[in-house]
């Protein structure tokens, strides 16, 4: 029962992870959107909109939410496009320091007039003139510059047609965040940027990019490096992988990586050999960001299937065969090199979808043998029964005769 519960819990966890991975509830480019217009008090600077639905799905990743843009044709009005499913909003400003209460919307485009935090009026009739500016998908560009680069700006365009985002050089000033990174936004049709500063007197060369959130680190001489992954993302401390491998797996090695990005710890298969640990455990330290391992032996010719593990936790693995292993995050009691082989492997997982030749062949052989044995046994039983009955009839008859 406990095993069944464990399995069910694992399944639920797997489905939850899959759901989280594949069903992000933040906005994506294709979904239906509604325009939110806001008119705010004069001392409300850089108004933002925080939006969500009844199920608690947020339209934006973090408070204070999406930044509005000033509508040049309607002075005092700001607008933002939000996903249509997000029908609860809070309008805020001054980096979230002032805000309205929760406003529940009926759907469609809305115009919100805010007198103060307590008084906001929602209208579904247009209160602005002219067309609502079209929704433009944007992505963030984060920039780190040397101290001598003052007021860094972003210049962005589409190559090779040369369409510029900003009207004039040096482009738009980037806003500095608490972490020291400057950030700006560009439409997703942009594929080229230049980072410049000191009123455009220092700059990088043209940087060809994908329209996706990126981090650019600029050096004093204008050289740069960029990454689509946050270089300041917290790196997890090392973890220990402890293993009991089958006795006939010589020189067991560890292959470890991070899924789904595919970052490997080791340069080439079969990975790195374990060292002898305590109580007969083989052990190896690897970066804490790994979430997948394979244990292999005999120079990689035998191996487990892919084993998913939780990041940042030491693991203990008792491997009984390619597809049989027991995984735990605490050292199992009483398991040593001597007992490891006798450990009942209760938690097995299926292998990869690719057919395993050895297994297929074995299964076929087993099937043939089983069929043969069972048929043979039946025939044997029948023959023995016949002989016994025949002999009994013969002797009874003979006895009566005598």
């Amino acid at each position: 029962m406990a095993k069944a519960l464990k399995k069910i819990t694992q399944l639920i966890c797997m489905f939850t992870v899959a759901f989280v991975l594949f069903c992000p509830m933040t906005a994506n480019a294709e979904e239906e959107r509604s325009a939110i217009y806001v008119q705010v008090p004069e001392d409300w600077n850089e108004p933002c909109v925080w939006a969500w639905d009844e199920d608690g799905n947020n339209a934006f990743e973090a408070w204070p939410g999406g930044e509005t843009e000033a509508d040049e044709g309607n002075k005092g009005w700001y607008y933002i496009w939000i996903p249509s499913w997000a029908n609860h909003v809070i309008v805020n400003a001054n980096e979230g320091e002032v805000q309205t209460g929760e406003l529940v919307l009926e759907g469609g485009n809305v115009w919100i007039t805010i007198e103060d935090p307590e008084n906001a009026e929602v209208s579904y009739e247009a209160l602005t003139e002219g067309d609502i500016p079209e929704y433009v998908e944007r992505f963030e560009i984060h920039v780190s510059v040397p101290d001598s680069w003052k007021t860094p700006c972003l210049w962005a365009w589409s190559a090779p047609d040369g369409t510029n985002v900003f009207e004039a050089w040096p482009g738009e000033a980037l806003k500095v965040g608490e972490d020291g990174w400057y950030t700006g936004k560009a439409p997703t049709w942009v594929n080229s940027v230049i980072i410049n500063a000191n009123e455009g007197s220092v700059q990088t060369e043209d940087i060809s990019i994908d329209p996706a959130e990126l981090w650019v680190t600029v050096e004093e001489d204008g050289s740069y490096e960029f990454s689509y992954d946050d270089p300041d993302a917290v790196s997890a401390p090392d973890i220990n992988v402890n293993v009991m491998a089958p006795a006939d797996w010589e020189a067991p090695c560890l292959w470890a990586w991070s899924a789904p990005d595919g970052t490997n710890v080791f340069a080439s298969w079969p990975g790195e050999a374990f060292t002898e640990g305590e109580d007969g455990w083989l052990t190896l330290a690897v970066p804490g960001w790994i979430n997948s391992v394979i244990i292999n032996g005999n120079e990689g010719s035998v191996q487990t299937t892919d084993i998913s593990v939780e990041t940042g936790k030491d693991i203990w693995l008792v491997v009984a065969g390619p597809e049989e292993y027991e995984l735990s995050y605490e050292k199992p009691n009483g398991v040593t090199a001597d007992t490891g082989e006798e450990t009942e492997v209760s938690e097995t997982e299926d292998g990869e979808a690719q057919p395993d030749a050895g297994q297929e062949s074995d299964a076929m052989t087993v099937q043939t043998e089983e069929s043969g044995v069972s048929t043979g046994v039946i025939v044997l039983i029948v023959v023995v029964c016949i002989v016994i009955v025949a002999l009994a009839v013969y002797f009874v008859t003979k006895k009566k005769k005598s």
Binding site: N28, D229, G262, A363, I378
Partner: protein
Amino acid sequence: MKRIIALLVSVTMLATLLCGCGTQAQSLTEEEKNTIVIWHDKEEAVSEALLGELQKLVPDVTVQLEYKSNLTEALKMVGNDPKAAPDMYFFAHDKIGVYAEMGILSPITDLIDRQTLDDAYVPMTLEAATYDGKLYQLPVYFETLLFMYNRLYMADENVPETTEQLYAYMEEKTRGGHYGFVEQHSTAYYSAGWIHGFGGYIMDGNGNVGLNMPETIAALEYHKKFVELMPGESEYATVNTLFQEGKAHATIGGPWLVSASRAAGMDLGIAAMPIVDESQIPISPYMGVQGVQVLKHAAENKTEAVKKVLNALMQPDVGITLAKVSGCAPAVEACYESEEVTADDVVMAMRETAENTIPMPNRPEMDIMWTVAADMLVNINMSGQDVVTSCEAAQKNAEELIRKMQ
């Protein structure tokens, strides 16, 4: 003498009685004759659509669809036992050889006239379903890998037409944690497309192993430079997630990737496979044909009901419905007269790509080849071993394992 004769008669009668217990009772009731059990491993949408169509087209036959997660192994264990085995199973064509060798399958041509089949089906689907000269599957739909790209990054006019253009694109775009192109480079199913593009093969239709062919070696030598611009790990989840999360511009993937990518908001493009510059042959992936196989006992004892089900499955409406829910291409030619089908860019891309695909070998030895080829690819692509040495070793290993299997 009389007693000996009596004894022999008794023994014979007893033997007959006892032996009767071990064989299948062939006298099925009318209800049993009209009940067809079909095993499958498909998602619910496909099985529901299949059942719905069959209930509509053959209301006088009771069709029971049973999901089997481990269908192939289960069939091996009970395929010979009519009491436990299904009457048919719905699965890919590549396991036909295994079950044909076990003697549990009935040729489809015993139930449906060959000419009728030839007239109705996309020829390559019948070719794929043929083992040892006999047709063992009634094809329903087929699938093949497709060249897919994210239009946010790769404009339609920039889609590479040749492998060298693809390589140049990868060189330019692979940086900062984004990839110009990703694929499951060390999985035999995916690598086969490159090998075929050079005129090589993993195993041909006659069971010949082609891992050390000059064409195969040339393909793998050439492919290595592409692998160097892809992530080290290349299993299914990694590759698909990189593409779906916008970290890769293009990929070669199956139709199953289409709906998930579109659901994630991607403007997905599908294009023809790049042509290998050296051979002028496109990357030519395997084609898998999903269809129905009939077990021998059902063909013999439930002939009429089986024929009715097979005839129903040949109706274009069934092909269209199943192709729609599976995202695959119908096997019946007449389906392509339907606007529903021709309007589907994925299905039509598959139909077009299929012109250059190779049916997945359906020989039992192929089970060995998947593993041997995968090990070889890992040695070449991930361990950096010499291509020729790895191919020669894999060839030898495969031949040895096949010999043992036989």
